[in-house]
Subunit: 304 residues, 2 copies
Amino acid sequence: MLTSRDKNSELFLGIDGGGSKCKAILMNKDNEILGTGISGPGNPLHGFEQATNSITESAKLALKNADLAHIELNELVAGVGLAGVNLPVLFDKMAAWQHPFKTMHLATDLLIACLGAHNGSEGAVMISGTGSCGFSCIDDEQTIVGAHGFPHGDKGSGAWFGLQGVKQVLLSLDGLVEQTIMTDVLLKKLNCKDDTDLVEAVASQKATYYAQQANLVFDAAELGDKVALAIVNEGAEYINSIARTLAAKKPPRMSMIGGLTPRLKPWLATEIKANLEEPLNPPEVGSVLFARQQQGKLAIQQSA
Amino acid sequence: MLTSRDKNSELFLGIDGGGSKCKAILMNKDNEILGTGISGPGNPLHGFEQATNSITESAKLALKNADLAHIELNELVAGVGLAGVNLPVLFDKMAAWQHPFKTMHLATDLLIACLGAHNGSEGAVMISGTGSCGFSCIDDEQTIVGAHGFPHGDKGSGAWFGLQGVKQVLLSLDGLVEQTIMTDVLLKKLNCKDDTDLVEAVASQKATYYAQQANLVFDAAELGDKVALAIVNEGAEYINSIARTLAAKKPPRMSMIGGLTPRLKPWLATEIKANLEEPLNPPEVGSVLFARQQQGKLAIQQSA
């Protein structure tokens, strides 16, 4: 008969920590999600304390949500995928964290997203949400394209589209580019009466703010607005170029994920769209799959 | 015989407060600069306390530099030109400051730059330093083109050129744009060995940091580097378009000023370069000229 501790060894926490929130799931051996927890930002680039607190909190909330609050975190194996830890200095810092779990398997948000999308198998993903990048994991070799951050990178991301929209509206208000229907929409959305108001509204704003302005660029492009069309085509072409770089590695499967996917995917090149397959699971499930794979490797090492 | 107080009424403080420093001069009625003072940042957008402290400190340093430290600030009329106060909310906040001067005449950094360049007469200026913009003052009507800030505006500025350089180097390292000699120069300058290092180095950096990377873009363009040439030509074309917008207002004189002028001016369109005249005085002298003009208007009002 299984003891309580044996049973808990069949439970895995899967965590996906990003710039705006941290999501945790508790999953059993039959791949059923028993509980879910969401907490604050989980990207250690924006604060180590904040990120570690968010990870712990989301895990506890997932246990509570599963009516298993009596289980301690130190009884559970966790797969933790985090934005930011593609930077070695942050990976090392997070790996050295005195975490509350029985075991923590740390991975980049890119790897868990890819594992999730392809149900634990190898493949490639293009990601466009607040940021953008491409990633593939083939023959255990990981390739990252982009993932550079805002405003110096992340072309084709929500933040990039929103920033381009704001830029072109400001230039248009100065008469330096042609008129665009984005101008009235943006001014109204941000409650601005003129370019001075707009400059005040956007001063010192971060990527998440600009990402909130991405939809109006796509709305305008879909109505045939020339300025918006130029932005959307430039951003889509960048994602095309990421897709072509990844396709050269011959991934068994390729998916597009991230919050901007429904808006951006229709604008990609036909042959790239044709090659995209639906993501099978979200990133936090990828974290569980990653943790199971790592536990499997540990077991093989221990029995060898 | 003139009393000490009468003599001091012939002295003016001229202040130019920008994002990185605040410069003050003390000038006599014969337009001789008696003393100069430089202090910290003077743009109230980045902190009201910092800006007002910098203004006061630079003024005191100018008096000390003139060996006139016994003169109190409340004996002197000051012309104060500041970045940031083109935003009405900041102009009002600065105008309400309990300043230490006898009288303070507040103006935008654009107006004092233009008055300085044209020795108090009307005209137009294109400015490219850390930021960029165009400005004209003709028939007492002021026109601003650009001056929107970074990263959503300020195309053709030092910050813009530096950011484009970093962007293209990152894309080039990903194989998404052709190779550029900027890559090796930038990695070496920032002490980076690869794109991961570079992303760490530039994460969350501000306009002044990017402006420090502008020169290497011009260096590469002058060596015929295609990626750098595309950046320089795009930035120059934006400044051309500002110049054409201002030229349509028929300014008696047009100048280009700002720290990037020596690098950028050679790339402007021939007919625009031919139309540019040398700036006659720096912005802080423009502040004195502005203060004198305003004092003159006050005197006329009082005698009417």
